[in-house]
């Protein structure tokens, strides 16, 4: 477990030694604000909750999470430091989890920095803060699922741009898997049972509850499974590239 922490610390600090972190945070916060206040009609709604804020999180994450995760493995491969990392007495699962947790913690920092939203809505009205808290927790967990996908895609390639684009594409599929765009394609060659399964993979469906502050076990299990699956695939990919 302590080896995980060593990798975590290095990776987390690594985010902040370059402008990457700061650029990301500014863009994330600016976009979150813009989307909430303008497109989400925060003021016109006249309701004291943060639903318009949370609604856009999947779309924010769609582009910004691959931006954080693309460097996790691709950069190590490109610069050759993967050879240093994997010859230290740290197992591959420990390295994978350490890096993932660092990226997740960084996302957590970004989410925390949206606290002015929370202050705003509390100044303007009397929101149910429990609902808002649940929304943050749910959003954080969903970010973790996106990150697991992004980290896994990063392990596929040396090229960070490819890692970014592929991660976006996969996240996009997951977001939209409940919509006709994806389902029509699935219906063409899968039995109905599986089509229903694909429909249930939609991040949007699962997240809708979360925006209302309802965290159902089903949603947690789904997001947790996605995380687990892609982290496992991440470990396999790193091992595979070693054997290649």
């Amino acid at each position: 477990m302590s080896k995980v922490l060593v990798v975590f610390r290095r990776e987390f600090a690594g985010y902040f030694t370059t402008p990457l972190a700061y650029v990301f945070l500014v863009v994330f916060l600016a976009l979150a604000g813009a989307l909430t206040f303008y497109i989400g009609n925060f003021f016109d709604r006249g309701q004291a909750d943060l639903q318009p804020f949370f609604t856009f999180h999947p779309w924010l994450y769609l582009f910004l999470i691959p931006a954080i995760s693309m460097r996790l493995w691709a950069e190590e491969r490109k610069s050759g430091t993967i050879e240093l990392l994997l010859t230290l007495p740290v197992s591959v699962p420990e390295a994978v989890i350490g890096k993932f947790l660092a990226a997740w913690a960084f996302t957590g920092v970004a989410l925390l920095l949206t606290f002015p939203m929370w202050i705003t809505v509390n100044v303007l009205g009397h929101p149910d803060n429990g609902v808002i808290l649940a929304g943050y927790v749910g959003s954080f967990i969903m970010a973790g699922a996106f990150l697991a996908i992004g980290a896994c895609m990063s392990a596929l390639t040396k090229n960070q741009v490819i890692a970014f684009v592929v991660a976006c594409a996969v996240c996009f599929l997951f977001i939209l898997s409940g919509t006709p765009m994806v389902l029509n394609f699935a219906e063409a060659w899968l039995p109905q049972v599986l089509v229903d399964a694909v429909a249930s993979f939609s991040f949007l469906t699962h997240f809708n509850n979360i925006t209302k502050g309802v965290i159902e076990l089903r949603d947690l299990v789904f997001l947790g499974s996605v995380m687990g699956l892609f982290l496992y695939a991440n470990v396999l990919l790193v091992e595979l590239k070693k054997a290649a």
């Binding site: 080896k3 030694t17 370059t18 610069s79 050759g80 430091t81 050879e83 240093l84 994997l86 007495p89």
Partner: protein, 327 residues
């Protein structure tokens, strides 16, 4: 694990690294083909070979970065596939190209390495201090690594390999990119550490092999083509024990005829032929010293000798001969 005994190496272990029939295939390409050797404590093994011969691949397999396609590698008795963490604990590895985390400073990089190797607190500080001192990187400790010169980058990577004072060191081209002074320092360092450790280095520099290694392995085309001490390798050169001489006042052709007639002599090359002098190289037939015969002939004939010397074998010539066509 049935039938396999876990042999831990203590001080009495003769074979710190044992490689048997090691192979690595990248698809259809055979990078390493059935390589076997063993290295004990106190030995400094030099890996020689043309580029792409399989040296780095072999080292990567021993260090646990690549999984072998066939064969086994054991370090201190631990198998690199079955017990990788135990192997990695005991190895200090300097990868080819000396990679390092560009945004970190040497200090933070060494702290990270120390933590990853399970060193904490005072022990970490002590080990880091020693590594810094040995590689002399104290002056650049707080600068981001990507702002350092090539030589310093390599020394930082070397410090990372030495940090935990490992029993086994695997160094891929440790002096590459260093200036002659730095090369000398690193070689001195390696020689200093050698008695207590098992060291494997790979190099293109034949002078390094002579300077540092107790044993040399030549790898070409993925295969092991020579395994002996540097001196033995030199002796394989056709120039070993050759006599180079410069004679005054005699025609080169005539001198050559006389010399070639000697029993121990193989070939005689004319290096230079002018009006007044002839420079020749007399090669022994089978590597045995011929200086006695040659100097007797010179004395009998009364030739004027301006220069005469016995040649050491040239490693680069041996190297070329062994690896010709196998690159």
């Amino acid at each position: 694990m049935a039938g396999r005994t876990r042999t831990n190496c203590t001080d009495g272990c003769a074979r710190m690294i044992e490689v048997q029939s090691l192979s690595k295939h990248f698809g259809p390409i055979v990078a390493v083909d059935d390589v076997s050797f063993a290295v004990g404590r106190g030995e400094v093994l030099g890996f020689l070979g043309p580029n792409g011969a399989g040296k780095s691949t072999t080292m990567r397999m021993i260090a646990g970065f690549l999984a072998p396609t066939g064969g086994t590698a054991r370090v201190c008795g631990f198998d690199v596939i079955e017990q990788p963490i135990e192997v990695k604990r005991r190895i200090g590895y300097l990868p080819e190209g000396a990679p390092s985390y560009a945004d970190m400073t040497p200090k933070s990089f060494l702290s990270f390495t120390a933590a990853a190797r399970g060193l904490g607190g005072a022990a970490a500080a002590r080990h880091i201090g020693e590594a810094i001192e040995r590689t002399q990187i104290a002056s650049v400790l707080e600068r981001p690594i990507d702002t350092l010169s090539k030589g310093y980058k390599r020394r930082v990577a070397l410090a990372q390999a030495l940090l935990h004072d490992p029993e086994v060191l695997i160094l891929d081209e440790p002096t590459d990119g260093l200036d002659p002074n730095q090369k000398h320092e690193v070689r001195t360092l390696i020689r200093e550490m050698a008695p207590r450790k098992t060291i494997v280095i790979s190099t293109h520099l034949l002078e390094e092999v002579s300077a540092v290694c107790t044993r040399a392995i030549v790898i070409a085309g993925g295969k092991l083509v020579a395994d002996s001490t540097p001196l033995e390798l030199e002796a394989r050169s056709r120039l070993h024990n050759a006599v180079s001489l410069r004679l005054g006042g005699i025609a080169a052709a005539a001198a050559r005829e006389r010399l070639a007639a000697l029993s121990g002599v193989g070939e005689v090359e004319i290096i230079e032929a002018t009006e007044s002098a002839a420079a020749l190289r007399v090669c022994p037939r089978n590597g045995h010293p011929i200086i006695g015969e040659v100097s007797r002939l010179v004395h009998e004939r009364g030739w004027t000798v301006e220069e005469i010397r016995v040649e050491q074998g040239h490693l680069d010539e041996v190297f070329r001969t062994i690896t010709a066509g196998r690159g």
